[in-house]
Symmetry: D2
Subunit: 441 residues, 4 copies
């Protein structure tokens, strides 16, 4: 069991992997940092923990380790290395996630039925990929490198996404076990008082949102484009467990008038009475965390909410969820700081800072914030060419956008324009809520 208080940061925050002139040396270092951080996250695990899949949405740790390697093998080493021979040809089938363009794949909900490759074999696979990748980064001819470099950067961002999923999936796995396994034991809970929620005003106007052309961004963040936004208000911080508890205790989960129709169906079908991982014992609320079962802290941002719960809570509050454009506009001038995976908390923390006059707090890190925006293409959206075009675009249906990153997101992975997305009934991510309003509401 890992007893270390801090986890080595996964890399230089100022690293811009997509900068045209980035040196091979820097890329080697970056590659090593990102890959090593994945393995650091596995240190508290026993071999048995790597194997299980506790719902179709989640994947075994072992699978994450292999799939992220498969990504480099399939999209870089295969096309990029002359005469490259796959470590094990059948891995192409086992570790393809959803890329139809890359061939047939093992069924997603059967990933936990595979005891082989073993954990040791999986790490050997990673090592083989790393050797080949590092050789390629160092030695590829300039022309080839120009083509491959953006995919290497994409692969590293892809790996960072799986770092977060690895954490949320292992949390789900441990939570199913009546023995309540603990991932980390030594994290102190946040004791800060949460500052009072204030409303910040934003003026109407035609704004630009989306990623600029330079620097790395996923294809779904582009092109940068104009939107008309009426004036709006945004809460100064995410809503807290204490605030959400008032909703729960006011019968929030028993009042159909507060819910979307599909949300009300989800409440009844799944018998939801509180956020995921909450559990009432002898009149007190507990929450299963990566540090084990803990009492619910009123001052911490509420998390593990579905979109449906975030929406119902907003309605009950007489407020709204922000649109993703509102969120991005409000984040425009903020520093990218917060409680991230490298901090090793793996749990949102209360807002420690005294309230600043005009800026929202905790926009980055702690909890992903559900927006009311259906995940859809920006005007002029172009997916990447080939199988990599399946990375984002084909999921633009029946999902909702979340913004800002969480306590399980690597710090160097997040951006103001970053669009995370999940179906509205999912809640095993560190997903929370920040309220919005308008002068009408």
């Amino acid at each position: 069991m890992n007893q270390a208080r801090t986890i080595e940061p996964s890399g230089d925050m100022s690293f811009d992997a997509a900068a045209p002139g980035i040196s091979r040396e820097k890329m080697v270092s970056r590659y090593r940092q990102v890959r090593a951080f994945t393995e650091r996250l596995c240190e508290p695990l026993e071999p048995e923990d790597y194997v299980i899949q506790t719902m179709a949405d989640a994947s075994p740790t072992k699978w994450h380790l292999a799939h992220t390697s498969w990504f480099f093998e399939t999209f870089i080493l295969g096309p990029g290395s002359n005469g490259y021979r796959p470590v094990e040809p059948r891995y192409g089938y086992l570790f393809n996630s959803y890329y139809n363009g890359a061939g047939p794949m093992h069924c997603r909900d059967r990933r936990g039925l595979l005891s082989r490759p073993t954990v040791r074999e999986t790490f050997h696979y990673r090592e083989a990929i790393d050797r080949a990748m590092l050789a390629l980064i160092e030695n590829a001819p300039v022309d080839q490198w120009r083509k491959l470099m953006p995919i290497v950067v994409l692969g590293l961002n892809h790996e960072q996404q799986h770092q977060e999923l690895l954490l949320t999936d292992i949390k789900h796995a441990f939570a199913q076990n009546p023995l309540c396994p603990v991932y980390r034991t030594d994290v102190m809970s946040s004791t800060a008082e949460s500052p009072a929620l204030r409303w910040l005003d934003y003026a109407e106007g035609v704004y630009r949102i989306g990623a600029e052309d330079e620097g790395f961004a996923f294809d779904n963040e582009r092109p940068r484009h104009r939107v008309f936004i009426p004036e709006f208000q945004l809460a100064s911080r995410p809503s807290t467990n204490g605030e959400y508890l008032e909703f729960v205790e006011d019968g929030g989960y028993r009042r159909p008038d507060l819910w979307l129709s599909e949300g009300w169906s989800a409440v009844n079908a799944n018998q939801w009475t509180a956020p995921l991982y909450w559990e009432k014992r002898d009149g007190r609320w507990f929450s299963f965390t990566l540090q084990g079962l803990q009492t619910v802290q009123a001052n911490e941002p509420v998390c593990h909410l579905s979109y449906f719960e975030a929406d119902a809570f907003a309605r009950w509050s007489g407020a709204l969820l922000p649109t993703e454009a509102q969120w991005e506009i409000a984040s425009a001038d903020l520093t990218l700081e917060g409680n991230f995976a490298e901090d090793g908390n793996f749990q949102p923390r209360a807002c420690a800072r005294p309230a600043r006059r005009a800026e929202p707090e905790q926009m980055f890190g702690d909890v992903w914030e559900w927006t009311s925006s259906s995940y859809s293409p920006y005007p002029g959206y172009r997916p990447l060419a080939g199988a990599l075009g399946e990375y984002n675009g084909k999921f633009m249906c029946n999902q909702y956008v979340l913004r800002g990153g969480s306590c399980a997101t690597p710090r160097s992975h997040i951006r103001r324009s970053y669009r995370n997305f999940f179906p509205p009934d999912k809640r095993w991510q560190f997903s929370g809520v920040r309220l919005a309003g308008s002068h009408d509401t």
Copy 2:
């Protein structure tokens, strides 16, 4: 079996039921027209046809007849008539569709398990409601009338929605029967050549969309508000069976790269190979229609597409689906004319008119046009108060907007700002596709 070629129109197109000064006399006349049209649509049916429910999405004809009456009883007669006694108190349970605020309800997917009330009893129920409603319209005190009048108008619009559903549901029911029952026998298929598809250009700008404050509109069409729209192009007419057939024959249903991820799952789970009701016999395509099995006409607008199919077809065409704002902007100056339910075709027809230079054809009637817009609240949206607030708002999740009405929509029911909505896998409505584009595409 009804042999009449034309169906009496359901009312004066210029009727604006929500106009403040509308006379009681006009309202009586309007009420009678709308209610009578529902019953006209039932004339071709045998008593047995009224009973069955062939999927959870559809309802028995008998249920539509009763539910629309229940609506008036529950939201007008009950609250509005002193000492009103329900025709049969248990109907409140049986014919409530989804209004949690109006009490518990019979399970939606069990509507076809009820042989009672019989058809005759159901018509008696309608008559009793009509007597009470007409008395109320004529005799209600002025103050009460002012409050109830908008709900009467809502009830008539509600009834018109169920006229369309009655038709699409009976079509689904007949299509399940190997005996291929026929609803109407005497309709000639359209023989016009479809004009070539042209692209119409629209300039970028901040536009206003949504219903004005005056006149009847559903709450989801309001408030009128500004949107920024980049320049775009719209197809001059809906896509045709002939065009869609090229997609089918090009392997459209076998190429995952053309589909949204959920769409591809739907294709495989349901083994879709063509639009709903299409069937290949001896190498020729047929389609089940309300006139029985017919050969697919290349020049007619394609219909019974899911959103997924419309989206995949657009992608295959190198085009897009329009947003609902684009559609509404393009419809701004058009006359509200087209092939509607009153015409008695109950099937889309080929565009007969020579192409006009600058205007899109067939924007109204024929087929509902899928837009790429997720069904969501307009900025400042306010649902109606009370249980009627469940009419629209709670469905604003995981559904997509369709515009323009169809051959099963009553002519006086449609508006430029009208927002129809269905989940993306549904295709038993007369739903088709009009392509859009941008200078990039």
Copy 3:
């Protein structure tokens, strides 16, 4: 609604249709009687009632009417009449129940999705079949008649089975309707006191069971064969509602130790707390019957039990279910009398007779009695040739034998050797329980 107190008997009890020398005249008369009784049972129904199917196990009345006619058409008229042309060729598909040897068939659980043929058309179908059948019975050449006659008799027994199913299926259909439709209104409930349960003793020995070679019997009742039976005891009458209620009130449905493992799963999955159609209102038990909702009568035989419930009740009683051999041995000398369909009660009645010393009461009629015997072939069993071999044999798996007939069984249909069978979780038949024991128990 049928108000008549008695229902014309379906035929001469002494009729032995399979007797070799039976006259054509007698067969004509028998055919008419049986077919007419089916239609008498339909008289209380509205056209809408004929259409619905409220679970996959049940069929619409309309389907029973057509299927029994299809049986004659398929197995007699088709093979037997030169140049016979089917009334409607597609009926072969629609009304085949499960005979793979007779061609493809419509899916069983979709029988309620068909509004056509209408009720009127279905009766026309019956009439056409009757005309052809009566002509064939009267005019078939002797050789042909010798071959067809046994199948005619089989067809009439088949029709009688569907008379019972028609009643139990319409009971299920009405029971689903919150309006509680009533099939018959004028039947008085039985007021007799039920005599005390006595135990009758039977000696061990090698017995013969099964049908003799002469006379009609289904293939599953043959051959008659020897079985060794240890001494046993049998209850003098079926168990009553009053006795079963003690089991219910003793927590019978909440004690896993009383149940078979699959039974306990069924209790929990279906949330059973009492027999089918029982309902507790304000502390009193009611039961839905074909005469509407009635209070549960303590002295009537309990019915609508699954095998699981009969078995658990027996275990709770410190007794057993009889084997089918025990039941048949005990019935050997009894008169075939009881409360049958022709009596028009359609509900079991209390035992009226004073107890006879040495004979069990109510072995025939009232309720089918679950036995502990898995439905399996007798030694030397031979199914009928051809598609008719599918009549019984292929169901000899995971079903349990019931004996004695019920209040919905036609009197002339039952035999001592008659083997009814249903899966152990089914309870919409009039199925009850008679206890057995041994000196050990």
Copy 4:
């Protein structure tokens, strides 16, 4: 990976654990042998292999190891040892299989979602139980020992049943993995020619079957009782792959007339075209075995058949399945020898011996033989008292009896009267078929 050719036998064949005068010393030795054999079977496994559950019917190896220990803890140490404190109280919940009388239990189909306890912790649990058990066997006061001894013997037989399940479950798990893991590598396939199938005759009579009162047997084998059996014939050996292949190639899986109705549904629902683990590649049949993928050997007994397949094959062969009484009668004088788990083949082998005139071959070991007997209580059956009464009795419904043991059954575990049982659609056990007949057939 275990390379040893032979596996140490699990004990003295002549051991009769239930003999009244058995010494404590012998019991200690027996306990050690049985427990050790379980662990020998785990030797080829990697830690990851212990964790997975590839269908609800199967359990993880880890679970088998813990559950068999839980059995001793719950039924012997808990009640038997003064002041015994459970190793880990929550194991009572996790490792209870189906004993409602022993308290609530973890859901059977979620056993593969638990990574903890780890494999190491599970072995520690076993060791703790072994220490306590051995102390108890050696030191329990005489009176207590008299009561506990039969349960110790039951626990050892229980453990042996799980030895077989451990093997069949790991086979299922490995078979799901596209990497085709191998459990044992060094077993040679059997090369013997299978002798021609002969029919052995048995006379009619009243026979006795079931276990005598002395010696260990499960409660379901008692009491010994009389049955009348008509004369019958039994095949001299189990049917072979070669014989079964003829059935397959004759379209056996495409002819509904050969199947029970539920069997035909299973064929279609599961798309069965051959026994479990068979796979056709390039026109040749292969079978997944614990030695990896092997070509199907025509002379080996066919196995991994469901009851449905055994029954259809018998029908196709113009034969029957034997009843369990027939099987037991035919086995009466045979020596208990055969291909068992201790031989380490884990795969049925061809009959090596020249045919003996009057005796059936391979009645024991190789493959379990499906009988046509529904699993039901013998006349006078009494389950064990308390929670142990759930061991067998509650499963006497919708299952069929198999006889004789298999290549995965420990040799000292089988008896002539042994009744194994599985639902008729299960086929992951080593289940095969021996034909029976009568003079009629």
